[in-house]
Each structure stands twice: as structure tokens, then as C-alpha cells.
């Protein structure tokens, strides 16, 4: 184990390298480029001895090639962002439907038009119903750790689903942070050899991706069951991860939640800023806490309900937008809490689109609005960075 300063992209590349994938198809897009360039450079230097690093002509083909290699039993890694992730969209459903445990780092970037290079979560959350499991990292260490855990979860025979691990573009992808890189020996103890069950080999003909008639619905249902199974598997994997690497993760990340009456719900790197703001507000006697969504799919409903059982007012801070509706995660939280006997007020705040800075001041502002909500008894849907007219 060694600690070093690396970017989020390099942390993802390290996660992949330690997992010893056999196949890495690639296509460049900012802000993911550094991740695949790092892997390419290692490949050229002979540091990925059992890996074929491939270059395709588009992300659609990257995911298609990933499907092909995974279908014959390879451990596969790739990475993308933004328009690239959207171009993969069609094949993401196919990878999940074929139950192929591909792991992909997605580095969030807002979507065109207009063009932006900076982060928000619409690209990632657009894939919400593709059948992939979706993890979201807060910092570079978690990026690396999540990729290792993603393989364990994806390859578990109760799951067999692909996983994407998201980090915020630029905020993490190009920012150096101290990251502990585990040794290959430790990772080999954690990540067993992948033994696929239903793959194509020379001796046994197999049909993959055929047409199904009435049975279609049963395949989809199995997909759903597998994703639900993943919740328990993730918890087991987190425990085992802690035993080997000493770092502890839960289905949801709770910060100063013990007596919190006001709860801010976030995803990804803005959670760090939010934690800093919460510390300051706590010093002023405000009972505020943070719930960070680490695992988006499968949806850890019980963990979320448990964490929010004492909350009086909640702000779902969405770094994304479903135009004509509001934040994407807001209704997910509302639905999750709908059946509680006493329901907290839940407000929606849309912030930080296209890299718009997510400052401590903004977090404090939102918290004060929550306090107003408690007084008026009314919740709200609000854009933090613009006046809605």
C-alpha cells in the first residue's frame, strides 16, 4: 500500500489496473481522457501484461466491444463521459440484459446544447433505467475503492449486472488528492478470479441476445431481482473490503445525522463542500446533517428511510434537471418517504449545472430556506443559480 497524490482519472485507472481486466475498449472524451490515456501508457510500457487495450471509433462501439469480450468471459473495463455515455445508451441496456459484469467509470459532464465541459449529473442519471448498477463517488479514494467493489458486486452470481462508477468531471477527474493505492496482493485477496457461468467457448455452442416472445417480461423481471439482490451483496462486499483494506463504507453516507432535524441530500463531490458548511452551521447551533447517496441503483430505500426517520425538513440538492419537472432525485426521495407515518417537508433545489460552483454559501442559503419552510409548513422546488420566472 502506498499513499500518493493522484487525480480522479488516475484513481479510476488504478482501480482498473488493480482489478486486472483482460480487455479495455476506449474512445476519448473530455474529462475522461486522462483515464484511458493512463491505461494506454501503462499498456505501452508493459505494465498491463494480461490486458488488451483497444481503440474503437465511437463509444457505441466501445460498449459493443465490451459486450463481445464480456460475452466470451473477459473481465472488462472502460470509461466515458457526457455525449459518449449517451451514445452508449442503446448498448447499456443490452449489456445489462445479457447480464454481463462490465465495470465502467463515468466522469460526469453536462450535456449539449450548448456545449459545456464541466460537470453535472444528467449524463449519469440518464442511464438510470438501463439495468446497470450505479455508484457515485465523493472523492478520488472512493473512486478507486468503488471500482474494486464494483467488480466484486457485478461478478457475484446472485447479481451478474454491469456497474458504472461515477465521479464529477474536473472537480475530481483533474484534481490531485491523496489516495492510498493498495497492493496487488491485497486486491487479489479481495477480487477473486472471475468465473463466468454462461459464456461462449469453442466446445459449447451458446446463443446470446436472441429474440424472445412472451418470455421477454421474465428476463426483465430477473434483471430487477438481480438488481435487488445486489443490495445485500454490496453490504457484504463493503464489509469484506473493510476487513482487507481498513476503509469502511455504508449503503448511504451519513454526516452529523444523529440529531439532525434539517437534512441535506447530495451526490458526489459537492458533498465535501456541504460537509464543511454543515460543520460551520453546527457551530452556530443549527441542527443540520447530510445524507449522501452513494448507491443510486439498486436504490437503498431502507437505509435512506432509516437515516431520515428523525428529519423534519429535507433539501434534495440535485445537480441535474429533468426539464418540465425538477431535480431527478427529488421525486425518488419523496416516493421513498411517502409511506412514513410522519412525513418531513421535502424541498427540491437544482444547483451546480454545467460546473456552476457549489459553494458553502449556497449550502447555507439552502439550509436557511429549509428553516423558513419549517415555519411556513410549505416545501419548494427552486433553482439555486438562477431566478425562475
Amino acid at each position: 500500500m502506498k499513499q500518493t497524490l493522484i487525480t480522479g482519472n488516475e484513481a479510476a485507472a488504478w482501480g482498473a489496473r488493480l482489478a486486472r481486466p483482460q480487455y479495455i475498449p476506449s474512445f476519448p472524451i473530455t474529462p475522461q481522457t486522462e483515464c484511458i490515456e493512463t491505461l494506454a501508457r501503462w499498456g505501452a510500457d508493459g505494465e498491463l501484461p494480461n490486458t488488451y487495450f483497444d481503440r474503437l471509433e465511437s463509444e457505441h462501439s466501445v460498449m459493443s466491444a465490451a459486450v463481445g469480450a464480456a460475452a466470451v468471459g473477459n473481465r472488462v473495463f472502460t470509461a466515458t463521459s457526457s455525449q459518449g455515455l449517451l451514445l452508449m445508451h442503446e448498448v447499456l441496456y443490452i449489456a445489462a440484459g445479457m447480464r454481463l459484469p462490465i465495470v465502467m467509470a463515468t466522469i460526469s459532464r453536462g450535456l449539449s446544447a450548448p456545449v459545456t465541459l464541466w460537470s453535472d449529473h444528467n449524463d449519469f442519471l440518464d442511464q438510470r433505467d438501463s439495468g446497470w448498477l450505479m455508484f457515485h463517488a465523493e472523492n478520488n479514494q472512493e473512486v478507486l475503492d468503488m471500482i474494486l467493489m464494483a467488480y466484486r458486486v457485478a461478478e457475484d452470481h446472485k447479481v451478474l449486472l454491469p456497474v458504472m462508477v461515477n465521479m464529477d468531471g474536473f472537480v475530481l477527474s483533474f484534481t490531485d488528492e491523496p489516495v492510498t493505492i493498495p497492493s496487488f496482493e491485497m486486491v487479489d485477496k479481495f477480487l477473486l478470479d472471475y468465473t463466468p457461468e454462461h459464456t461462449i467457448t469453442p466446445d459449447r455452442p451458446v446463443t446470446i441476445g436472441a429474440v424472445a416472445l412472451d418470455e421477454y417480461t421474465f428476463f426483465r423481471a430477473q434483471n430487477h431481482v438481480a438488481a435487488r439482490n445486489a443490495l445485500g451483496v454490496i453490504e457484504q462486499v463493503q464489509d469484506e473490503f473493510e476487513k482487507i483494506f481498513g476503509r469502511n463504507y455504508d449503503l448511504v453516507d451519513e454526516f452529523m445525522m444523529d440529531d439532525a432535524e434539517l437534512v441535506l441530500i447530495t451526490q458526489g463531490s459537492m458533498s465535501t463542500t456541504t460537509k464543511a458548511a454543515i460543520k460551520e452551521m453546527r457551530a452556530d447551533g443549527i441542527k443540520v446533517g447530510l445524507l449522501r447517496l452513494r448507491i443510486i441503483r439498486p436504490w437503498p430505500a431502507s437505509a435512506i428511510k432509516e437515516a431520515l426517520k428523525n428529519a423534519r425538513a429535507i433539501a434534495v440538492i440535485d445537480r441535474n434537471v429533468a426539464p418540465g419537472k425538477g431535480g431527478i432525485m427529488f421525486p425518488e426521495i419523496v416516493e421513498t418517504l411517502y409511506y412514513l407515518e410522519s412525513r418531513p417537508l421535502i424541498s427540491s433545489f437544482i444547483v451546480g449545472l454545467g460546473g456552476n460552483p457549489q459553494t458553502e454559501e449556497k449550502i447555507k442559503e439552502i439550509t436557511h430556506k429549509l428553516m423558513e419552510d419549517l415555519e411556513t409548513g410549505k416545501s419548494r422546488v427552486e433553482w439555486n443559480d438562477v431566478e425562475e420566472s
Binding site: S61, S64, A69, V72, I200
Partner: protein
Amino acid sequence: MQEFKSIKDLPEIELFTGGSSACAGCGGTMGLKLALKALGPKTIIVNASGCMTLLPLYPTTPLKVSWIHNAIENASSTAAGVRHGLDMQGHDDMNVVVYAGDGATYDIGFASLSSAAVKNERIIYICYNNQSYGNTGFQWSSSTPYGSETKTTPRGRENQIGTTFVQKDMIKIMGAHRVYAASASLAYPVDFLNKIERAKNRKGFSYIELLGSCTAGWNYDSRLTIKMSKLAVHSGMWPLYEIEEGILNLNKDFKELKPIEEFLELQGRYKKLPAYGVQKLRSLINQHWTELKEYNGRRYV
């Protein structure tokens, strides 16, 4: 390398059994059945969405080889993943074969095809060309020949020709990728299977395009598939040739081409093509044939 001399040499092995849902007399289906004789059991077929996607219908399949269908535009990239995947597992003795329609090849899947070819991936790409989007009910693709009527290029008061575009010269384009590129016909199975044999023994990408006549869309009697295939070759509508290392080789030479009318008359899709349309089609074909004759044995691309 094995070379078949006559139809009696063709392998007896049958890897395509009964129970497919393709139309009777379908050229694409017959092509796969034939191709598998040369390919053998250690083959994985990578299919692009199209008529052939309906061959395996869960939970059955008429095939005794592996099969993967991903989507319509990505058979080549899927095959590249399969190829590298198998090689990484030490299974380099397997044939990775794309079997895709002309729409998936000429149009929507062209980028992934070109990319796999340029990288000279060890893949055998067989395009069964029914000159249309067959599975969706016979619409125009960029391999539909001038003068053919399709559902999206119907003849009408304003347009008596139907398809007014001239199809892409795909074999030339693939030849220009510096890979092996060849045309093939069901009426010449020895030639077709020898081309597959050559592809099998190459270390890189091979592109073989088979005229896959379509009883439903071309609108002809399913008994006539082989006759149709033969007439297409004899009339110059579907010349048999190959390009290797840029050099053209005409596989079936004729002193004189048969008139195209004999081929056209058998099919519904050319019915009511006005005389000036037939004239233009004839001249396009003569032009192509003259070019092939001129470059025979010489650098073509």
C-alpha cells in the same frame, strides 16, 4: 489451405438444422447454411439486427454454433470484442464471423465496420445483401440498386423510377481498406466456400458480400432463388470478383453479358420500370463491367 474443386467436395457437415423462421427460398438463410459448411463448428456468428436475427427464437435455435446478436450498428465492434476476448482466453482457433444485412453494413453499421477493417481485426465479415432493409419490410438502403422499387422509394406519379440513387460501391470501398474483399453468389457455392476458406486462413479482416435474394421483397417465386442468383451474375448485375492487396481478380468472366431484362422480369420490384429506367440501369451495369474487365489482374484501389 483447403481448396474445393467441385460441388462434390463441399463438406457434408450440417450446422444449420430445421426450424428457422426465415421465408422459404431466402437467399440470406441459404447463404448462412452454406457458409457454415466451410466455417465448421468452432465458429461464433455475430449478427446485426435484421432478418437473420429471427433464426434463434428463445428457447430454440436452428444453429449448432454459437451466436451473439447485439444491435444493428455494432456487429463489427462486437466481433472485435469477441475476437480479442477469445484470444485473451487462448481460444484463437475459433472463427469470429459477422453475418449482417446490407443495411447494417452499408449504412448504420458502416463506421464500426470501417474501424474493424482498418485495424485488420481477424474477423470474417459476410454481408448477405438483399438490397434493402428486409426485416422492417423492404425499405431503401444504400445498396438498393437504381430502378428497384422499395417501400420508401415507391414508384409514383412524380417518380417512375423508384430508387433514383446509385448504390455504394462497397467492395471497392472495403478493398481500399487494404483487406480481402470479395463478392459471392449462391449459384456458385464452390467459389463462395473457397472465398470463406481464404478468409479463414488470413491473419486479418476479410469482407465477403453474398447476393442474398429476398423472395418477399423482390417478390418472386421461392423456387427461383438459385436461378435468380445465376442470372444476376450472368447479366453483370452481380459480378463475381475479389480484391486483395488492392489487386482486382475477376472470378467469373463472360465474353458477353446476358441482357438484364431476363433478370428483371422475374421480379416484382422492377415491374413497371419505364424503358428509360431500364436503359439507365443497363448503362450503369455495362460501365461497372467494363471497369472490372479493364482492371482485372491490376491494381484497382
